[in-house]
Symmetry: C2
Subunit: 215 residues, 2 copies
């Protein structure tokens, strides 16, 4: 792809392009290492030196490709957001908005319970939230959230609820699902025996669906 072009412009572009490509490859290599370490050791076990060791470069090299650890964090958050979106995609094809909403919720909770570290990264890690609005991970998360509120809107439009306050309905449902997953992920359910926790979560989800039907 680039090599043909290179024949014509060896002195103007090809080297610069190759360097750019190599730069992108290196960024991707770093991120992939970070991803693996995160999956193995969690966010706490993820540090610059461990990334450097894994890719067999010095720690200082990392800083030539990412400004600081926060940038790597943002990139990981993007991966988490993408994983979440992919997990939720099957719901999008359901025609009936109410059924779509239920499946969306079910998959949302399912994602949280199956990938607690991803969920944690997205919604529970304190980490850098300063200029998160400018980050791709936020944009992606926002898109998924929009899909959710649009589905709620579709339910409202189709008169599935008596209430027409789409915003509050959507927010309330989100609060429940998020609270449910959060208590799981951060282990604040220890008053319940471990073997009933997942069952309780499912029962609660079902109950919330029933409650929403009466809205």
């Amino acid at each position: 792809m680039f090599s043909n072009f290179a024949l014509f412009s060896r002195f103007t572009m090809s080297i610069a392009e190759r360097k750019e490509r190599e730069k992108a490859e290196m960024r991707s290599l770093i991120l992939s290492a970070a991803h693996h370490i995160f999956k193995e050791k969690g966010y706490d076990g993820l540090n610059i030196r461990s990334i450097a060791e894994r890719i067999e470069y010095s720690p200082a090299t990392i800083y030539l490709y990412y400004k600081d650890k926060n940038e790597i964090f943002y990139a990981l958050q993007y991966e988490a957001a993408a994983a979440k979106r992919d997990h939720l995609i099957p719901a999008a094809s359901i025609e009936d908005p109410w059924q779509r909403l239920i499946e969306f919720g079910r998959l949302y909770v399912d994602f949280g319970l199956k990938h607690p570290d991803w969920y944690d990264l997205l919604f529970l890690t304190r980490a850098p939230m300063e200029h998160i609005e400018n980050q791709e991970c936020w944009t992606l998360g926002l898109a998924t959230h929009s899909f959710f509120t649009e589905t709620v809107q579709a339910c409202v439009d189709a008169r599935y609820f008596k209430s027409t306050d789409t915003q509050t309905i959507a927010y309330t449902l989100w609060c429940h699902a998020h609270g449910l997953v959060s208590l799981f992920v951060r282990e604040r359910m220890r008053m319940y025996p471990p073997e009933i926790r997942e069952e309780l979560a499912k029962k609660s989800f079902t109950m919330m669906v029933k409650m929403a039907e009466g809205l």
Copy 2:
């Protein structure tokens, strides 16, 4: 109080007692410093050296009174749990279980929004959860949680709901309240303009109460 006793048992107890008292005082001094720093700089700004500096002792001294930073963390969590319990106490005097439950929920959310750092410490900080069950802070939190489930049980007994599944009802309500506060505390509500966030939370709480009425 002790001094009289000391006249009789100078060689057996008084010195040991005074030392014990001094030890307790020192622990309390350290904790109080930690408390202040936590309130001013948050958990991230809280470190052993800053505590040591505030009480004008060397950092190593801290370790003579607390095994490690986790122990200080547990002690702070206890303070947070006590603050939460105190905040919720007014609800306890309400006779009608349904009104008591509503007020309990309102105060719970109110506590979270007014003291995000305390709430964070109790429910969102990753920190050490290994042997938390043996810690006083957990016992206290459990007591508050029991008060909550007992109130739900009272509502069930008084036939305020059609459902009799106390556990699931309580858990569902908790999920919503916890999710609501968590999204606030960890700043995941940036898709809503700041000025409507608190209003939205209140509307959602009201909506949840209405939904619960139909349970």
